[in-house]
């Protein structure tokens, strides 16, 4: 009975073990609400909770299993839970040129000129779905379908921190310099992650983002 593979619904999410310590829980559109609800319980069996794309991942302490407590928390109704955070951030971006080498090709793919492409990317208010890949790297939800684009066939060996990028249906911002496969359309000087700050990540799951062309 450890794997519950029923179809996901708000009250009965499906879950599967990835190892003896990692449990993936399918949460669909309720990911951030379920994440907030689970986090607020401070369950003693749970070492970490990681929201991602339509699922929440629970890391159990060594030796801990799915107690009745955790099981109830996973299936508890979410009605009435407050929405998370929601701080609005304005991120100033230099689009195109050396800061956004993939912008011309992506604009052509979308059937737009560069100015229209930039307007389209900056017109939307995005929400932070989750952080991953690098500390503080936000996966932003809300990208216009016309701007969806696959990752590069061959990743770049070095993408600079602050690069604003497109990967599939997400737009994101590189928080550290390093290898990366997303398409680069611009750059921001905003510091996405600083481990010395009280809040190390500039953007948190549930926050909202507007890009402002410089």
């Amino acid at each position: 009975m450890e794997n519950d593979t029923r179809a996901p619904s708000q009250s009965h999410p499906a879950w599967r073990w990835i190892s003896d310590r990692g449990l993936r829980v399918e949460t669909g559109d309720t990911t951030l609400t379920r994440y907030a609800a689970l986090s607020s319980l401070n369950l003693p069996e749970i070492e970490d909770i990681i929201p991602a794309d339509g699922c929440v991942f629970l890391v159990f302490r060594r030796g801990a299993g799915l107690s009745e407590n955790v099981r109830s928390a996973l299936i508890a109704p979410l009605a009435g839970m407050p929405a998370t955070g929601g701080t609005l951030h304005e991120i100033v971006v230099e689009y195109g040129g050396a800061a956004g080498p993939d912008l011309p090709a992506l604009a052509e793919r979308a059937g737009l000129d560069a100015a229209a492409y930039i307007n389209s990317h900056a017109a939307v208010e995005y929400s932070v779905a989750f952080l991953g890949f690098q500390p503080g790297f936000p996966y932003l939800h809300g990208l216009s379908c016309a701007l969806h684009a696959p990752r590069r066939a061959s990743p770049r060996l070095r993408v600079v921190a602050g690069s604003v990028a497109i990967g599939g249906g997400y737009t994101g911002i590189y928080s550290a310099s390093g290898p990366g496969g997303w398409q680069i359309i611009g750059h921001t000087t905003a510091v996405m992650f600083d481990p010395q700050r009280d809040a190390p990540a500039l953007l948190m799951p549930g926050d909202r983002v507007r890009f402002v062309p410089r």
Partner: protein, 303 residues
């Protein structure tokens, strides 16, 4: 206090890691075998959570100007000290003022942990003194040690006790035990057979972020999935079919199918695999794996 005379391949300040920051994209990290570092700490009279050094494949030359009480746990390295006295793994070792300790090649395995009395006094970052190399923070200035670095240790009180650790045995010839992953159903029979019957080898391009494996390609239907949470030990299969076992500093989310996850009890063995080592996998039930996960080394008085 430690002076680094020459650096090893990758000497990193580590403690038990920084759990609880996964939602920010920060992995737990910390010593690749936290129980081994905890045992070394107890041998020198520290709290299990004190910071020590994780030493990989080839060790550093260290000088202890004020003398020090140290202990080593994990893989055995060829080692000498300036006094000529023996260096025993898993025991309290008292170094005189000005003594040097030279750790050379690992004789078996890949990593060992050096604890010293008081623990390394680097500033904690996000609640831990562990180095996180991929983003360059924590530990000693966010990087591996270099010649000329000087590391302070915290002051301690109380008498030194001479202790010995009973080292848990690792079954080197046994396969790594795994739980079948959430996407195991996406792999066809040929892919599953390749993985579970295959003999793999650890490739040179392996580090604390992940162990890359060479061997039979694992075929699967879909190359990319929505990003999902992962943890160290998760075996991801990218489009080229070559499995990667995520390591201690690996990402907290991933978009490749996960075929299996190495159980917590076998992560200490994963920490000792070096490039060229053979790897096989075998499944184990969750209920059998869990009780194996709580590991604490026994410590006894040295008589």
């Amino acid at each position: 206090m430690i002076e680094v005379l020459h650096a090893g391949l990758c000497d990193l300040v580590m403690d038990q890691g920084r759990p609880g920051w996964g939602a920010l994209g920060v992995p737990v990290g910390g010593a690749a075998d936290p129980a081994a570092l905890a045992a070394a700490n107890r041998l020198v009279g520290n709290d299990a959570t004190a910071a020590g050094l994780e030493i990989t494949l080839k060790g550093p030359g260290l000088r202890f100007p004020l003398g020090c009480v140290v202990a080593l746990a994990g893989a055995r390295f060829a080692a000498t000290r300036s006094s000529g006295a023996a260096i025993v793994w898993g025991e309290t070792v008292v170094l005189a003022a000005g003594e040097t300790l030279n750790l050379e090649q690992a004789e078996t395995g890949c990593r060992c942990w050096l604890a010293l009395r008081g623990g390394l006094a680097v500033p904690p970052v996000m609640g831990s003194r562990s180095t996180f190399l991929p983003a360059g923070f924590g530990g000693y200035r966010g990087r591996a040690l270099r010649a000329g670095d000087v590391l302070a240790s915290s002051a301690t009180a109380g008498a030194v006790r001479l202790l010995r650790a009973r080292v848990p045995a690792i079954e080197w010839d046994a396969p790594l035990r795994v739980v079948a992953g959430p996407q195991a159903g996406q792999f066809d029979d040929a892919g599953l057979l390749a993985f579970f019957a295959g003999n793999y080898r650890v490739e040179a391009a392996s580090d604390r972020r992940g162990l890359r494996l060479g061997g039979p390609a694992v075929t699967h239907a879909r190359a990319e999935l929505p990003s999902q949470g992962v943890l160290p030990g998760a075996v991801q299969v990218p489009p080229d079919g070559r499995p990667i076992v995520l390591g201690w500093d690996g990402p907290v989310t991933g978009g490749y199918p996960v075929i299996a996850g190495v159980i917590a009890a076998d992560m200490a063995k994963l920490a000792q695999l070096r490039p060229g080592d053979a790897v096989r996998f075998a499944t184990i039930e969750l209920e059998r794996a869990r009780p194996l996960a709580i590991e604490q080394w026994e410590i006894e008085e040295l008589t």
